[in-house]
């Protein structure tokens, strides 16, 4: 399983908020163990989905000295089970956005119902730590369809 936990960005206000989505296929191996006979998306993956969505929002504004990385999970709640093949809508609102750190209030919905939420804290890893030719395919896809917003 690749660790790209955002399929698509639907709305983006760089550095401020984002709406995105992810669907985990029932064929993913992790569901064999989580749990046998009762496959549900792990809470840690839901948290990572929200973090990746918020991270893309931060990376999109281009004001930071590096890429957004999850630094702390200040709190997370998991209210409903999320089943494989369900489309998970991810919402992140950036509540603090500074050069050295950022915070975000995030939640996820399935079929209009809130399934989890988290308060996340981000730090920024210098760009030169990453492969020089690395591009974020999900952000790139969004900018292709929203060229006026592309940096």
């Amino acid at each position: 399983m690749r660790f790209i936990l955002v399929d698509c960005i639907h709305e983006l206000d760089p550095g401020k908020q984002i709406v995105a989505s992810k669907t985990l296929s029932a064929h993913e191996e992790l569901f064999r163990d989580h749990f046998p006979g009762f496959p549900v998306v792990p809470g840690v993956l839901l948290t990572e989905m929200m973090a990746q969505a918020a991270g893309k929002c931060l990376d999109a504004d281009g004001t930071h000295p590096g890429r957004a990385m999850l630094g702390k999970i200040n709190g997370a709640n998991f209210r409903e089970w999320v089943r494989p093949d369900q489309e998970i809508h991810l919402y992140a609102k950036i509540t603090q956005n500074r050069p050295a750190y950022a915070t975000a209030d995030c939640f996820a919905e399935v079929e209009g119902k809130k399934v989890c939420s988290a308060e996340l804290f981000f730090v920024f890893a210098p760009h030169d730590r990453f492969a020089p030719d690395h591009r974020d395919p999900v952000l790139e896809a969004y900018w292709t369809t929203h060229p006026s917003q592309a940096r």
């Binding site: 630094g71 702390k72 603090q96 500074r98 050295a100």
Partner: protein, 78 residues
């Protein structure tokens, strides 16, 4: 806010007991006062008190007393 309240607030930021902190406590004496702890402090001063630290401010904070001084300088400590 009193100094006692401020030290309790700082203790919460660094996930330690207020009894472990005095104004003379150095950064090295607080386990969670690492690079992430510095950023958490900055974010919390910002969100809780509206204090935005400059790079010089951050460089100058080496003890609990330095944090208290920042809070006092910004009118948050009586």
């Amino acid at each position: 806010m009193t100094q006692r309240d401020a030290i309790e607030w700082i203790a919460k930021i660094f996930e330690t007991s207020p009894d472990q902190l005095t104004p003379d406590t150095p950064r090295e004496g607080v386990a969670a006062w690492d690079s992430l702890g510095v950023l958490t402090l900055m974010a919390s001063l910002d969100s809780d008190f509206g204090i935005v630290l400059s790079d010089d401010d951050v460089q100058g904070i080496k003890t609990v007393g330095d944090i208290l001084h920042v809070m006092q300088r910004n009118g948050k400590l009586g």
